[in-house]
Symmetry: C3
Subunit: 140 residues, 3 copies
């Protein structure tokens, strides 16, 4: 059984490869390369796999899950400029793909337990663009 919690956070970023010039970055990233950065209201869906406890009927304590997402993702990322304030995005381009991978890496060890594991991370950068990381692919 899969339980999914949705949260959101807002952050600024700019997508530029440091070794490339303005024209090449704009050709690669379009307006995402605009030097002063810009913001998105990211929506994050985190899916945990497990079986419901036979007494409580819960796969995971939802208050605990909310606390984990608040502590591991919202606190370090919300209202930050990712490239300037959140590692490794001083070195790594904060595309939706790289941000989703970083969120996966932050959450996976914390959500691993004898009863549950992280199954999927879905990150919406805008309402018409999202990235999924799924455990099966991750393990390949």
């Amino acid at each position: 059984m899969l339980v999914t919690r949705r949260i959101d956070f807002s952050a600024s970023h700019v997508c530029r490869v440091a070794s490339l010039g303005d024209a090449e970055n704009i050709a690669l990233f379009g307006p995402e390369a605009s030097p002063n950065g810009h913001g998105h209201n990211y929506i994050l869906e985190v899916t945990v796999e497990g079986e419901p406890d036979p007494v409580t009927g819960m796969v995971i304590d939802l208050k605990k899950l909310k606390d984990i997402l608040e502590q591991e993702i919202v606190q370090p990322m919300d209202h930050r400029f990712l490239n300037k304030e959140v590692q490794p995005f001083d070195m790594v381009v904060p595309t939706a793909e790289n941000l989703a991978q970083n969120i996966w890496d932050r959450l996976e060890p914390v959500l691993e337990s004898s009863r549950t594991s992280l199954s999927k991370v879905r990150l919406f950068q805008t309402s018409d663009l999202y990235v999924d990381i799924v455990r099966n692919e991750e393990q390949q």
Copy 2:
């Protein structure tokens, strides 16, 4: 090919383990344990797997699917207090997980045919919390 129909229904519930006291239930379930119960507008997505009929181009007759969901889920659950009016929730805590499992158990035999099978049930309890039951996991 997968065809998904979305419906909604409204119901009240309270999440409490009968053998535990107030403090323990509130520690487990938070406001979901509030004794008088409370309501949700549940949204249910039911996914059927099959191949389109070569003449009609349909995996399943959508009017028939709507009738099945109306009869098996909406009629027994809509505008009910789950713990008081819908079995087995007099005995089983109506968490989103247990409710999704019960919906799966109600629909699976009715949607099994030579051409189609139930592939997935997704139940939104709120806009930021949903539970999935997927056939592959179910069969393990």
Copy 3:
């Protein structure tokens, strides 16, 4: 990793099997068989699988993906009457299932590259009905 782009287009269609009469078509398709046709605002989600480029952090150039969807789907289908203006729907009933399959067939060869492949097509005909075609099933 999976990257999904959402677009929309509006089109008219009518669902009728040519060899059947009015009563049989209405029994099969309900109001979808109404002879003058009717429109939907289709929403299409196209999912591409691949690994992010280690330098750019992108699975696929999103501007290029948008151009492909514009050229292969929006230009031929948007504001058209599918049965009259878009092949093969002069011969094939444009149910959501058949339309999703046609969209898959148009996109798959164009999105196949050494780095990416088409993973999933999801077509919403209305907000409460959608069809998925997923690569694993497609390949069986």
